[in-house]
């Protein structure tokens, strides 16, 4: 945890973020900061606004107000395709594997946005299954393999901040364990990660900090070392 990137550097600062889908007001003033090299989770119940927060950062929701700074740059007026070029890699909840593309085409689809991304060889070393099935149709893979593919795809681009939405959802424990190893490796490489996660037992040992989201607002911020002290608060929010 101590090595590498500058922990003071604000890679992402979201202030007073409101987001709307048509008439429905989803986010009610999200405030959060993510430093370089940090792994931060967004915890909360379904419908609390965690996915929408990630989508709002990607400029993928209808209307937004407030401020989203990436690397110190205001991005509220950026077109969606400019966000990725700031070094942001987004892995959607539905994984977004394209059925008309084979595995390798899926993998090489996102353009490289920064130098320092992983090469195809490195990716295939990290995910040997993808290599074996590189000419299969993307959606013919198992759920776990599709999730690996969705992750691997954004590692190639050189993105240094990953927004990951429910990557363990519906996957077998052995796959979840593998994903945990991957995240640890990425963190050790100095990548900044924002993780929307339902599986608290998966997220807890990996994360530096947790934000609890409820009704479209951040209601609690918990550092990793405060977890045991604030466990009861957290449980009451998550309803476990």
């Amino acid at each position: 945890m101590s090595h590498g990137p500058d922990k003071e550097y604000e890679q992402l600062r979201v202030s007073g973020l409101h987001a709307f889908y048509g008439e429905s007001h989803i986010l009610h003033g999200i405030d959060m900061v993510v430093h370089r090299g940090e792994l931060v989770t967004l915890l909360g119940r379904n419908g609390a606004g965690r996915t929408t927060t990630l989508k709002a950062i990607m400029n993928m929701v209808g209307r937004r107000t407030g401020s989203i700074m990436i690397n110190g740059e205001e991005t509220m007026s950026c077109a969606p395709h400019h966000i990725a070029r700031l070094g942001v890699g987004y892995c959607p909840e539905h994984r977004g594997i394209f059925s008309s593309l084979n595995v390798q085409e899926n993998l090489t689809l996102p353009p490289v946005v920064r130098s320092g991304g992983m090469s195809l060889e490195e990716i295939y070393t990290m995910f040997p299954n993808l290599y074996e099935r590189r000419f299969s149709q993307g959606t013919k893979l198992s759920g776990g393999e599709q999730q690996m593919l969705a992750m691997a795809r954004i590692l190639r681009t050189g993105a240094n901040m990953l927004l990951l939405d429910e990557i363990t959802e519906g996957l077998a424990p052995v796959i979840v364990e593998k994903l945990g190893e991957v995240l640890t490796a990425l963190k050790n490489k100095g990548l900044t990660i924002v993780l929307v996660e339902q599986n608290f037992h998966f997220a807890a040992p990996l994360a530096d900090r947790h934000y609890v989201v409820e009704h479209g607002q951040i209601v609690e911020e918990i550092r990793a070392d405060e977890l045991s002290a604030k466990q009861s608060v957290l449980d009451s929010y998550l309803g476990v």
Binding site: M58, M60, A79, P80, H81, H82, I83, A84, R85, Y90, P92, G96, F98, S99, S100, L101, E105, T108, L109, P110, P111, V113, I154, T157
Partner: protein, 295 residues
């Protein structure tokens, strides 16, 4: 003379040839429609008008600027393609994401306006465009006479169709198109300039139509309404092939031209209805079309 089912063989071959030629046009046009529908999810009713513009452009470039067929073969599609990009940028983009009916009405309106304005200037009796000298005459294949120009149309149309299929199915640019067809928002999230891709795709689809128009200029009557006649058939072809299927559009196009040609030989009264008959049958048996993905 040898006969088959009471039809002279030479007549059969002749109709088959016409069928393949018409099929080549259907293929080029339905291919453009399929490409546009795939990414933009709009049914481009202006497609016939773009085909007409391609042919008109060829005639006018020659009449007013003395530009010959070979130059027009490239220039006309580029010019009409630019018209397409303008239509996409200033009109279609504003109603993106709305119900299909809006883009359908809008493109239909654009087609009517283009037809109306050009009819006002040129009438509907047809402009003359003489066959390029290179293609005068033809060759005797023994069983039939093959005019050079018809042979050229078939070869070049199929080459362009194959090239387009290859570009979409086998190249990097094509993978953007295919992926954009599935989830354009995520593509944009990866940093791909989807609005630009959409403009270029519409322009490219329109270029294919205009290219068909240039090919048609020396053999069909060039009039401002030539597009509206062929478009209805082409829509039937796209429906038979399956909306959005690239290979399906090409194969079905040629196939339907042949079916039409054969019908003209054996039972002429049904020739203009046969494609629609096929469409009805296909829709009853396979609602997603011959090559469409099962929903």
């Amino acid at each position: 003379m040898s006969m088959i089912f009471g039809v002279p063989l030479a007549v059969l071959w002749g109709q088959l040839l016409i069928g393949i030629i018409n099929g080549a046009f259907y293929a080029l046009l339905s291919l453009g429609l399929a490409v546009i529908f795939g990414l933009l999810k709009i049914i481009n009713f202006a497609h016939g008008a773009m085909y007409m513009l391609g042919a008109m452009c060829t005639v006018l470039l020659f009449d007013y600027l003395g530009i010959n067929y070979w130059v027009a073969l490239f220039l006309a599609p580029v010019l009409v393609g630019l018209v397409g990009v303008v239509i996409e940028y200033f009109l279609l983009r504003r109603i993106a994401g709305q119900d299909h009916i809006y883009s359908l009405l809008l493109t239909f309106g654009v087609a009517l306006m283009l037809q109306g304005v050009l009819t006002n200037f040129f009438g509907v009796s047809g402009l003359r465009y003489s066959m390029p000298d290179t293609f005068q005459g033809g060759m005797n294949l023994g069983f039939m006479f093959l005019p050079y120009y018809r042979a050229w149309v078939i070869v070049v149309a199929l080459l362009v169709c194959f090239g387009t299929w290859f570009m979409i199915e086998k190249t990097k640019l094509g993978s953007y198109l295919r992926a954009g067809t599935e989830d354009a928002q995520l593509m944009q999230g990866f940093g791909i300039n989807v609005p630009l891709l959409v403009s270029l795709t519409y322009g490219f689809g329109v270029m294919l139509a205009a290219f068909a128009g240039v090919l048609a200029a020396p053999i069909y009557s060039v009039t401002p309404v030539m597009g509206s006649h062929i478009l209805i058939v082409v829509f039937a072809v796209v429906v038979i092939g399956g909306m959005g299927s690239i290979g399906g559009a090409i194969i079905t196009g040629v196939l339907m031209g042949v079916v039409e040609g054969l019908t003209k030989t054996f039972y002429p009264p049904a020739s203009s209805a046969v494609i629609f008959l096929v469409m009805v049958v296909v829709l009853l048996i396979r609602p997603t079309g011959l090559f469409g993905k099962e929903a």
